[in-house]
Chain length 222, copies 2
């Protein structure tokens, strides 16, 4: 009995996070009502409060699920992996409600009284791991500190999606990512790596097509 019940609980939790993301994405934190989330998820209030003690807790879970929407699509290593993370992120931010809600809530959190830097830290850590691998592989210029560069890229991407949201509803977000790498790479990578690192938005599409799991978050847009 134990195992199936646990599996059901995991499924219910996942369905709640996805439904909450869709509602947060559409209405923002203030406009997202618990009853709307329950209806969307098709679960009872009891099930929701078993997993999440409040709307804030649900928002935190959505904020911290961002990387789950990107990492499954990646196969590259080192600096190319970091570039690919930003390319896939720019693409999926247009289509994936879980990622879009996570980004929206992270930016809006102060308006609903939260101050949680864990989504920023989670991205910094993922990017730092790519850069530590890049350093191992001899890809970085001397003096480039992986933890510092990781935070700068998180900062630039955060501001980039806000600028793009205000200017073009994010239609030019991939172009902005490409531009960032064109300006950053020569100062941080050794010349041979600058030359061979591919910074092409088409990589994001190819990555999705090669690795998209059945029933991935992006499928539930409509």
């Amino acid at each position: 009995m134990g195992q199936p019940r646990q599996e059901r609980a995991i499924q219910t939790r996942g369905a709640l996070i996805l439904a909450a993301a869709e509602v947060f994405d559409e209405y923002g934190f203030a406009g997202a009502s618990i009853s709307r989330i329950l209806k969307r998820a098709g679960v009872t209030a009891g099930a929701l409060y078993f997993h999440f003690e409040s709307k804030e807790a649900l928002a935190k879970a959505v904020m911290n699920a961002q990387s789950d929407t990107i990492l499954p699509f990646l196969e590259s290593q080192g600096l190319q992996r970091l570039v690919d993370i930003t390319l896939v992120w720019a693409r999926r931010l247009q289509t994936d409600p879980l990622l879009r809600a996570g980004v929206r809530l992270t930016g809006e959190q102060t308006t609903f009284g939260l101050r949680d830097s864990s989504p920023y830290q989670a991205w910094s850590q993922i990017m730092e791991e790519c850069l530590l691998a890049a350093r191992e592989r001899g890809e970085l210029q001397a003096g480039v500190e992986p933890s510092e560069l990781a935070e700068l890229i998180v900062e630039a991407c955060t501001g980039m999606q806000m600028y793009a949201a205000a200017e073009t509803c994010r239609a030019d977000l991939s172009d902005r990512v490409v531009r960032m790498w064109r300006l950053l790479l020569p100062g941080i990578a050794v010349p041979s790596v600058v030359a061979r690192t591919a910074v092409d938005p088409a990589r994001a599409l190819a990555a999705e097509e090669a690795t998209a799991p059945v029933g991935a978050p992006g499928d539930g847009t409509g």
Copy 2:
């Protein structure tokens, strides 16, 4: 008669923007009531609606006053001027309610139904002018496009203050600015300029002390 009346109108408009900034800074857009802004500014509703047709219009004026809080403190040129803008910005964002409200409203604008990229564009243009001057002076590496680099720096600063707000209430914002320049400069400036460009938070303090006008926005904090 005409001249004094016009001067009074300009003063009233300035007082309204400053009062609105203080109230937006404290309560956010949703929590800022017109009556609270009127009380803080010490003007009548008629005077307010003579200058601004709505709370949204007042918010836009605050969003677009950001650079007024920084440019008066600058005397340097070229790339050093751009570095100084970011250092003064990081410092004044902790103390100047007009700048802080402008930044807050720009980030929160989608939550109150605005989509205005003009604050981002205004900063990009100011930074691009510094970079065009830097290029004239032979400070930039070949292939660095001033308009592209300007937008990247606006994006990085935007994300930086959000990350710092969530992590340290912006206490480490100046350190993040310094780190950005340490990572960016070697890839964008010629070596002699990298060597002589000063990236020190103390420059912001010195600039304020040297040039602070009497009755500057920062004086009205309390």
